[in-house]
């Protein structure tokens, strides 16, 4: 446990990506099995305990620390594990004197993981409390991180896999390809990485293939690109997925739906799995966008969200939110890996494939004909009349692909581009601020902003949304200072700041769309709002009005997302 705690501690303070990779690789190289496997599971978020849950920790810290002081501390630290580790009272009795502690599990990571997995719900609080008593502050923090799941030490699963790849000097995508077939503590994987084991077989029947991603295009990029060598498609505002199906060695059909990070999300989409299992789908892997279609019309992202992150899927949900895949690419078909073929050829295969699959849950991503960049810019500005029709609201820009691009894992340069629609822009007034979590904890970094409207006693500001990014670290410090110096009221962790015609800070807010909402006081909800500029110069009375935002709903209902105010 000490080594694991040391690793987390050092990685959490290491600012550079290369430094993190060095630390991780060193740990994996020098730590034995099965400890390193459990550490890998913890870092990649695949470790899950049935009974050891965050609520448990909140419960027993409440028995030991004044709840008000705990609440204020947690609000400041912004991380449950760290707060508890810092507040945990020093153990009172020496370990040897206490029979319970003498019998507590040993402190290797594997012992702890196995104990947490095996201990029943009733016994668990006592077991964890004993462990916390025995560990030092760093160890307590690491243990609590394990239990609460999200480590938040600035290491993605991808980075951990990159460190693994460095052990064998192979490509990280080799690890990605075999990853879905592996489970903690990853003994065959480490044996292979160490050079004394076979490469673990990828679960070929319905394996995950690392998706190809696009770069955001900049104005200066167009000069070097030839329209004739590219094809364009709409960028659909859904969830990028990979659908794979095959026949296992025992003749049983296997079907899986993966997120773009390789997470198996099949369980949440039985309607799509039904399509994939069907023999007409064959043995294939395709890349596409997960959307909700009602009567052939693509629904907004807000509607799709109702289907996401659900543990169980009710029959009603399946009927009300029918899932659909809009196909972008075909990666594999009947034993043949298509990824090295040029895009144009894969597209032809994809068209045949979609026709043959003949499912009402699967269709082709339509292409946008264009002769020049000007023509494509016009299509992007008005998807409704450029072919997207009624679905235009679900278009968030256009995708540009080289006709000869192979399907390359990761984000290769010069192959695919995304050209997002310009965001909507409004000037709003800062109303409330709350302390953030993670990297931004202890700073007032979550901002509620509002717009003017006519109230019973003259003009008033009504809250319309919340944003917590879009600003630089330097701007965050300035905003935090502003909030502290202009607080007019405190509600627990929330501070109210002065927002009147004479006083107030104007924030330029960028967002992707707006919908009616019954959950918000203003009656509208913005999609993906972020702070695009801080208008220190602008008087609060000159901020925008709620009517302007409401007008955008009307405009987008009338003209599709072609309405582009602001810039």
């Amino acid at each position: 446990m000490n080594r694991f705690a040391e690793l987390l501690d050092r990685v959490s303070y290491e600012p550079s990506r290369n430094g993190k990779l060095r630390l991780l690789a060193h740990y994996f190289r020098t730590t034995g099995d099965p400890d390193r496997g459990y550490a890998l599971a913890a870092i990649t978020g695949t470790l899950n305990f049935a009974n050891a849950k965050p609520a448990l920790i909140r419960g027993f810290i409440a028995d030991r620390v004044d709840p008000v002081l705990f609440g204020l501390s947690y609000d400041y630290v912004g991380d449950l594990s760290e707060t508890v580790a810092l507040l945990w009272p020093a153990a009172t009795a020496p370990a040897e004197a206490d029979p319970d502690r003498r019998n507590a599990p040993h402190n290797t990571l594997s012992d702890i993981v196995e104990t947490l997995a095996a201990t029943g719900k009733a016994q668990l609080p006592r077991t964890i409390a004993l462990l916390l008593d025995r560990l030092d502050e760093k160890g307590r923090w690491a243990l609590l991180k394990l239990i609460t799941g999200g480590l938040r030490i600035g290491v993605s699963a991808r980075l951990a896999k990159t460190a693994l790849a460095s052990l064998r000097d192979c490509e990280v995508n080799e690890i990605e390809d075999i990853w879905p077939g592996l489970s903690p503590p990853y003994l065959p994987l480490f044996a292979w990485l160490d050079g004394h084991g076979e490469r673990p077989a990828s679960d070929t029947a319905a394996q995950f293939r690392t998706p190809m991603l696009a770069h955001a295009i900049e104005d200066r990029d167009f000069a070097g690109l030839n329209p004739a060598e590219h094809v364009a498609e709409w960028k659909w505002d859904g969830i990028r997925v990979q659908a794979a199906a095959g026949t296992g060695a025992d003749g049983v059909r296997i079907a899986r739906l993966y997120s773009r990070t390789g997470e198996d999300v099949s369980a949440a989409f039985p309607d799509l799995v039904d399509m994939l299992v069907d023999g007409r789908f064959g043995d294939a892997a395709l890349d596409g966008e997960l959307l909700i279609l009602r009567e052939g019309r693509v629904q907004s992202f807000g509607v799709l969200q109702q289907r996401l992150n659900r543990k169980t899927v009710s029959a009603k949900l399946l009927v009300d939110y029918p899932a659909h895949i809009r196909a972008y690419d075909l990666l594999y078909e009947n034993g043949e890996d298509l990824r090295q073929l040029p895009f144009a050829e894969r597209r032809q295969r994809l068209e045949v494939f979609v026709t043959r699959a003949a499912s009402d849950r699967l269709d082709l991503s339509p292409q946008i004909p264009f002769e020049s960049w000007e023509a494509l810019a016009a299509a992007r500005a008005d998807p409704r009349s450029a072919g997207a029709g009624e679905d235009a609201e679900a278009v968030e820009g256009v995708m540009l692909k080289r006709s000869d691009s192979p399907y390359l894992p990761g984000r290769p340069k010069g192959q695919w581009w995304k050209w997002k629609r310009d965001p909507f822009i409004l000037d709003a007034v800062l109303m409330y601020a709350q302390r953030g979590h993670g990297k931004r904890s202890s700073f007032y970094s979550d901002y509620t902003f509002g717009l003017w409207r006519k109230g019973s006693a003259g003009d008033e500001i009504v809250p319309v949304g919340k944003a917590y990014f879009g600003f630089t670290d330097e701007e965050l410090k300035q905003l935090d200072r502003y909030v502290r110096d202009h607080t007019t009221n405190r509600f627990g962790p929330v501070r109210e700041v002065a927002a009147t015609v004479d006083e107030g800070l104007v924030l330029e807010v960028a967002f992707e769309g707006v919908q009616r909402s019954t959950r918000h006081k203003s009656g509208v909800a913005m999609r993906f709002p972020r702070i695009s500029r801080i208008r220190w110069d602008k008087p609060s009375r000159d901020a925008d009005r709620l009517e302007t935002l409401e007008g955008l709903i009307a405009a987008s209902a009338r003209e599709g997302s072609g309405a582009e105010p602001g810039r």
Binding site: Y13, V65, V68, Y76, D79, L86, L87, S441, F443, D485
Partner: protein
Amino acid sequence: MAASILTLAPQGLYCPAGDFYVDPMRPVPRALITHGHADHARAGHGAVMATAETLAIMALRCGAGFARSQQVAPLGETIEVGGISVSFHPAGHVLGSAQIALTQGPEKIVVSGDYKRAADPTCLPFEPVACDIFITEATFGLPIFHHPDAAAEVAKLLDSVAMFPERTHLVGAYSLGKAQRLAALIRQAGWDRPLYIHGAMDKLMHFYAAQGIALGEVIRVADTGRAKLPGEIVLCPPSSLGDAWSRRFADPVACFASGWMRTRARARQRGVELPLIVSDHADWAELTATIRETGCREVWVTHGEADALVHWAGTQGIGAMPLHMLGYGDEDEAADQAAASA
């Protein structure tokens, strides 16, 4: 506010009977100053009363004409000001720092300024003063704040220097107090190589040394030519850690000596690789112990994490009130500004 000795005015804490302010944030005719940090000791007052060291520090930082007139307040002596008995007592924060006790009739009120209880080789230790109302800071007023033994933190620094002899250890430390305390602690730990400093610290380093505090050989980085200083320790204002200035050194290890380093997010926000928890403020245990020790019936909290301390006082049967004073607790920025203008 219950007591009549002090009231809260826009300029800061005001004593109507004596017609003076304590640590005012804007220029006033008469000011009593607890210590020399820029957020407490501002230039432009009429008459200033403070300890001799604090007056000297203000003159160093703001120029000799920082106020129209100055009066030295010797520690422990009582001075009558308009029917108020004023006395200064060591606060243990930085060199010259003092608490200010104000007595009128049977009522005594103590303005602590910033303070700490941990040992510090560069200043006199805090002396508790029994009082009716204790006015405290709460920079680290949450139970998560515990400042470990400063010598052990300095040992962490020296261990790291031994482990990475090819790198420069760049230690962010406030120019007044922290830098000198660290230097003294580093000497006590047996480090006898020269210490390198950012130019902004030069005057105060000299001043401390002139007061007889052993800081050893101190060299300005600017005087080393283009040396990259591998294996050396360089002290600088915290704001210089991420500056272009820091890139001249050999693969620098960013260290920051501050009580804020207790939480990971704060260290990461500053890109600190080696956090050193060394603070010149009281931690939670010191704050609560000090409030109890003064025997006060009421505590007022000037700035910092006031809510938790006020709540705690309530559970102890001590009346408590947050003053929400803006402008204090910025010695980080204040020191940075001083560094920028130095």
